[in-house]
């Protein structure tokens, strides 16, 4: 057992530190400015060899062990750089369920950041109960025609492509009638509406209305009716702190608060420091376990719950450190409330933990 870097890991870290010393400050880390330059940041990080490190070489990765992502996250936070782009769950979803032709066409652009993506799963009437979604895809010749309304669609205004779940067989049982599609966002029949968040950020969130947009038959991911499997893979990984890369950002916030605090730090700040350190170590343990090819499945829900508690303790530390007088601190606090909703609410995570890990008949 060793929590330290191996020589190879240390060399990777040193290269990254040197690159960040030159480049970190060129990119904003929060608010609408961050979202506006998020694509450029993604491309720069990949071009330098520090994004997608763990993915297959054939699609633009380097096939390094998962722990390299920990190093990237830690150094980004230390340098005050933006977080690692969080789209690992889409890469994993398409990688696992897409045909080789789709993988070759779409994974390289997704990984190198030249093509931007959003995820069209949730709907106004289908939140926690995702399988009740009503967006339809109707086969007409060599393409499907989409009608429906997606919501909570992060980066929808910037995206080139959307991974859409739509109902292709209204007669089938609800989990079996859903298919996944890769839909171009640049076509008629798509209306994109921004959805300002309560912290004032307007660029992150959106709603997407499909009214006659089309998608070629060969851009279906998997077979007709297999969309639910794709969805479960994507949301499963969307719950893993190691995939998301937020962990180090919490540490950065706590360090910044500690550096500016007047007088003795509040209990909220100290507790946020303990929580943040817990998550840092927890992610290392989880990523090490992936060396055994352990597939996480429902364990991701435990990690998501822990990550949520950490982010919200950091939010409380921001609030306790002058959040009612400082828009940025208030923004961090308000944003932290979303963590127990996005990617599956904490209540849904607890249902999964209770039912699939503890074995309770919830």
């Amino acid at each position: 057992m060793d929590f330290r870097d191996s020589p190879e890991e240390a060399a990777f870290r040193a290269r990254l530190q040197a690159w960040l010393a030159e480049n970190a400050k060129k990119f904003p880390t929060s608010g609408d400015e961050y979202w506006a330059k998020a694509g450029e940041w993604h491309q720069a990080l990949h071009a330098a060899g520090f994004f997608g490190s763990t993915w297959p070489k054939a699609y633009g990765g380097q096939e390094l062990p998962a722990v390299y992502d920990v190093i990237v996250d830690e150094e980004l936070a230390r340098a005050g750089a933006p977080a690692r782009p969080s789209l690992g769950y889409l890469v994993i979803g398409l990688g696992r369920h897409g045909s080789e032709a789709l993988r070759q066409r779409f994974l390289p652009g997704m990984i190198n950041g030249t093509e931007r993506w959003c995820q069209g799963f949730s709907e106004p009437g289908a939140g926690s109960d995702l399988a009740s979604l009503t967006t339809t895809a109707t086969l007409e010749g060599d393409h499907y025609v989409l009608h429906g309304h997606k919501i909570w669609t992060s980066y929808s205004d910037e995206a080139d492509w959307c991974l859409v779940l739509a109902r292709t067989d209204p007669a089938a049982p609800r989990h079996k009638g859903i298919s996944g599609f890769i839909v171009s966002m640049h076509q008629p029949g798509i209306e994109q509406r921004p959805l300002p968040m309560m912290n004032g950020v307007t660029k992150e969130f959106g709603q997407v209305l499909f009214d006659g947009a089309t998608v070629p038959v060969d851009q279906m991911v998997g077979a007709p009716g297999e969309g639910w499997k794709l969805a479960m893979t994507v949301v499963g990984h969307e719950r893993e702190p190691s995939t998301l890369g937020f962990t180090a950002r919490y540490g950065k916030t706590v360090r910044n608060l500690a550096a500016t605090v007047d007088g003795p730090p509040s209990d909220e700040l100290r507790w946020a420091a303990v929580q943040t350190e817990m998550l840092r170590l927890h992610v290392r343990r989880r990523l090490s376990e992936q060396l055994d090819e352990v597939s996480h499945g429902p364990d991701g829900s435990l990690d998501k719950l822990l990550m949520t508690w950490v982010e919200q303790s950091v939010g409380h530390a921001c609030l306790a450190s002058g959040g009612t007088r400082d828009p940025e601190l208030l923004g961090t606090y308000l944003y932290s409330r979303a963590q127990s909703v996005m990617g599956g609410t904490s209540q849904i995570q607890k249902n999964i933990i209770a039912g699939r890990i503890i074995g309770l008949e919830v």
Binding site: F3, D5, R255, M278, R280, L287, S288, V362
Partner: protein
């Protein structure tokens, strides 16, 4: 970076778990079964685990055994003898004592059930070990009041007889080990309380359904499991740090682990009491035995939130 347990470490953990499951108390009534305690004492003595440190075991291995013993409410000494064994090893004292030695803390001997001697560290200066300290022996006197039903605290008897000096670094490493083993004890007891509550939630029926099928109950237990997973992660780092990081850093890792785990464990035990309902508030339910053990190990080498260093790594 690879923080998995080795095969040998997993085997050691499993062996400790088996012993605890076979001979630990399965009920409150079992606590008074002196024949069982004698069998348990014999079995534990035969393992040699009380002298793991002088046998070269790492902090990680020691923590695994302590955690499993606490999970099974093992009610013969382990934590005290382990810590005194480490002290003796640091003094370069090769001679194995004729019987396990309790841990002298202040004017008490902890984890002293059936033991006659205690060994402890008195820090030089004001800091807890920061300037080194004196190792010395005391006798084990009469038992004193303690909330823990699985371990005995006694008054120290006779004068503190110095037997050697520890350097500042050795004293800090020992402090880090003490934080690690008490944290492991807390985590193990919390896991025991959690398992008890899960079993109960799967059999207790109300409104014609097992209570674990209600989200109100299921979500409490899901939260407990997440707290356990977080605690495992902080403890593993602290246990590794005992031997591998700079002494002051190892102490900091132990402090974070203990603050997090003690808070988590109290919540987990309180949840276990709650899930058991009325029964959970009775003497005969083991939930309070776990809670008492958690609180006792929390109060031994306590860490407060105010001690947490904000300079995160």
């Amino acid at each position: 970076m690879d923080v998995r347990l080795t095969t040998e470490q997993r085997d050691l953990r499993d062996a400790a778990a088996r012993l605890a499951d076979d001979l630990g108390p399965g009920s409150v009534l079992d606590l008074d079964d002196t024949e069982r305690v004698e069998r348990l004492e014999k079995a534990v003595a035969a393992t040699g685990w009380r002298s793991l440190r002088s046998d070269g075991a790492s902090g990680v291995e020691v923590a695994l055994v302590v955690e499993e013993f606490a999970r099974g409410l093992v009610d013969v000494p382990l934590l005290g003898p382990l810590l005194t064994d480490d002290l003796r090893a640091r003094l370069g004292n090769e001679a194995e004592p004729a019987e396990p030695v309790a841990l002298a803390v202040g004017d008490e001997a902890v984890d002293a059930r059936g033991l006659r001697g205690a060994l402890g560290l008195r820090a030089a200066g004001a800091g807890a070990g920061g300037a080194g300290g004196t190792v010395g022996t005391v006798g084990v006197g009469e038992p004193v009041f303690g909330i823990d039903l699985t371990r005995t605290t006694a008054a120290a008897s006779g004068p503190f007889e110095p037997v050697g000096e520890l350097s500042a670094d050795d004293a800090l490493r020992w402090q880090a080990l003490a934080l690690t083993v008490t944290t492991a004890d807390i985590l193990g007891a919390a896991r025991g309380a959690y398992a008890l509550a899960c079993e109960y939630a799967k059999v207790r029926s109300q409104y014609g359904r097992t209570i674990g099928s209600f989200q109100a109950i299921a979500h409490l237990l899901a939260e407990s499991l997440a707290l356990i997973e977080g605690s495992v992660s902080v403890l593993r780092y602290a246990a590794w740090a005992v031997d591998e990081l700079e002494p002051a850093e190892a102490v900091r890792a132990g402090q974070v682990a203990k603050v997090y785990t003690a808070r988590a464990a109290q919540t987990i035990c309180e949840t276990s009491v709650q899930v058991h309902g009325g029964i959970g508030n009775t003497w005969e339910c083991l939930a309070h035995v776990f809670l008492r053990r958690v609180l006792t190990s929390g109060a031994l080498f306590p860490v407060s939130l105010e001690e947490i260093d904000l300079g995160l790594s």
